[in-house]
C-alpha cells in the first residue's frame, strides 16, 4: 500500500518535472533567439553571414530545384487525368500554379531544407559544443551567439524564401513540360488560366509569408538544438534527429494554422 502510494507520487513528481523542463527549454529557446537576432552585424558578421548563405542556401539549390521539377511534373500528370474527365484540362495551369504557390512550394521546400541544412547546422554547432569550441570562444571574449549562431539564423531566414521561389518557378515549368509538351494541353490556356486566377498579393505574397515563417522556425529549431544538446556523440545524434522531427512537425502544424488564417477566413 505504502509502495503503491509513493510510486504514484513519484510519477506525478516526474510529470511536473517534465513540464518544468519543457517550459525551461522554451524559455531558453526564446532568450536564445532574442540574444542572437539583435545587434547590428559588423563587417566580420557580414562575411560570416555570406559564408553561411553559401552553405545553407547555395548548396541546397540542387535538391530543392530537382524536387520542384518532379513535383510540378507529377501535379500536372495527376491533375490532367482528373480534369480531362470533366473536359476541363485547360484549367491545368491554374491548378498547378495555385497548389504550388499556396501549399507545396513553402511546405516541401521547408521540409527539404530541414533535412538538408537544418540537420547539418545542428550537427556542426553540436560538435563545436562537444569539442568545447564554444566555451573557448567565451573565454577569449567572443560571444558565440553573435559569432556562430546569428549568421546561421539569418542565412536560413533569407535563403529559404529564395529557395521557395525557385521551387515554384521550376515546378510550374515542370507542369508546363508534362501538361503542354507531352499531354497536349493548349499552351495559351495553360498560361492565361494561370494568370487569370493567380493574384500576386493573395497567392504569391501569402506563400512568401508562409515560407518566411517556416524559415525562421526551422532554422531556430536547428541552431537551438545544436546549442542546447548534451555534448556527447549520442547527444549530437539525438539532437540531429530531434531537429528534423521537430521542424517537420512544426512546419506541417504551422502550415495548417497559417492556411486557416490566410484562406479559411479565420
Amino acid at each position: 500500500m505504502q509502495s503503491k502510494f509513493s510510486n504514484s507520487t513519484a510519477r506525478i513528481t516526474q510529470l511536473g518535472r517534465r513540464g518544468c523542463d519543457l517550459m525551461e527549454a522554451l524559455g531558453r529557446a526564446g532568450v536564445f533567439l532574442f540574444q542572437s537576432a539583435i545587434g547590428v552585424p559588423s563587417r566580420e558578421g557580414w562575411r560570416l553571414w555570406l559564408h553561411q548563405m553559401h552553405f545553407v542556401g547555395v548548396l541546397s539549390i540542387a535538391i530543392v530545384l530537382v524536387s520542384g521539377l518532379f513535383i510540378g511534373m507529377v501535379l500536372a500528370l495527376q491533375g490532367y487525368t482528373i480534369l480531362v474527365d470533366f473536359g476541363a484540362e485547360q484549367a491545368l495551369g491554374q491548378m498547378v500554379a495555385l497548389s504550388l504557390l499556396r501549399e507545396l512550394a513553402p511546405v516541401v521546400a521547408a521540409l527539404l531544407f530541414a533535412g538538408r541544412a537544418g540537420s547539418a547546422l545542428t550537427a556542426e554547432i553540436g560538435l563545436m559544443k562537444a569539442t568545447e569550441q564554444l566555451t573557448s570562444m567565451e573565454m577569449i571574449g567572443v560571444d558565440p551567439l553573435r559569432r556562430v549562431v546569428a549568421p546561421r539564423l539569418w542565412a536560413g531566414f533569407v535563403s529559404l524564401p529564395i529557395l521557395t521561389v525557385g521551387f515554384s518557378v521550376v515546378g510550374i515549368w515542370g507542369g508546363y513540360l508534362v501538361g503542354v509538351e507531352w499531354l497536349g494541353v493548349f499552351e495559351g490556356s495553360y498560361w492565361s488560366n494561370m494568370q487569370a486566377s493567380v493574384t500576386f498579393i493573395n497567392d504569391i505574397g501569402n506563400g512568401m509569408i508562409k515560407s518566411a515563417v517556416f524559415a525562421l522556425v526551422v532554422t531556430w529549431i536547428a541552431v537551438f538544438q545544436g546549442y542546447d544538446l548534451v555534448p556527447t556523440s549520442e547527444g549530437i545524434s539525438r539532437a540531429t534527429t530531434r531537429t528534423v522531427v521537430y521542424s517537420s512537425l512544426a512546419v506541417l502544424g504551422l502550415d495548417f494554422v497559417l492556411t486557416a488564417i490566410m484562406f479559411g477566413g479565420l
Binding site: 555570406l50 547555395v58 539549390i61 504557390l101 529564395i162 525557385g166 494568370q195 487569370a196 493567380v198
Partner: protein
C-alpha cells in the same frame, strides 16, 4: 581569398536568381502588367445581372481580347450592376454609340467575360462614356424556370 570570392559570387547569383524568380512569378504566373495606364480608355456599362463576372475578367471583340473589367459595383440609383471596362486605346473613338456589351460564358463551366459588338451609329463612344445597350449574363436557374413555366402553360 580566391575561394572566398567565388563563394561571394555564388551567393550573389543565388540572391539575384531569387529576385528574378519572384519577377517571373509576378509577371508570367500572376499576370501583373507594367504597361502605362495612359494606353487605355475607360467605358462603363450597366447590366441587370452580371452572373459570376469578376474584376479582371476579359473583354473581347470578335473573340480577340481588347481589355479587361476594372471594377464592378452596385448602382444604387437603378439597382443594377455598373461595370467599368478598361479598353485598349486603339479603340478610342472607334466604337459606335450603339455598341452592344454582353456577358458571355467560355464553355459550359468556364469563366464569364464581356463580348463587345459594334453597331452602326456614326457617333462614337469617348473616354468615360456609358454603353447603353447591354445583355445580362445567362443565369441557368432563370432559364430552367422559364422552361418549366412554359411547359406548365402549354
Amino acid at each position: 581569398m580566391k575561394r572566398s570570392k567565388t563563394m561571394e559570387f555564388g551567393v550573389g547569383l543565388f540572391m539575384v536568381a531569387g529576385i528574378l524568380g519572384l519577377v517571373f512569378l509576378g509577371l508570367r504566373v500572376s499576370g501583373l502588367t507594367l504597361s502605362a495606364p495612359t494606353q487605355s480608355f475607360k467605358l462603363e456599362a450597366n447590366f441587370a445581372n452580371i452572373g459570376s463576372l469578376k474584376p479582371r475578367a476579359r473583354v473581347t471583340m470578335a473573340g480577340v481580347t481588347v481589355g479587361r473589367v476594372e471594377a464592378i459595383e452596385l448602382d444604387t440609383q437603378w439597382f443594377d450592376a455598373r461595370v467599368v471596362l478598361i479598353l485598349n486605346s486603339e479603340l478610342e473613338g472607334q466604337l459606335s454609340k450603339d455598341s452592344i456589351a454582353s456577358i458571355l460564358t467560355a464553355g459550359l463551366l468556364g469563366e464569364q467575360y464581356i463580348g463587345l459588338s459594334v453597331g452602326g451609329d456614326p457617333e462614337v463612344l469617348e473616354n468615360g462614356d456609358t454603353i447603353r445597350d447591354t445583355q445580362s449574363a445567362l443565369v441557368l436557374e432563370e432559364l430552367i424556370q422559364q422552361f418549366v413555366s412554359n411547359m406548365a402553360s402549354n
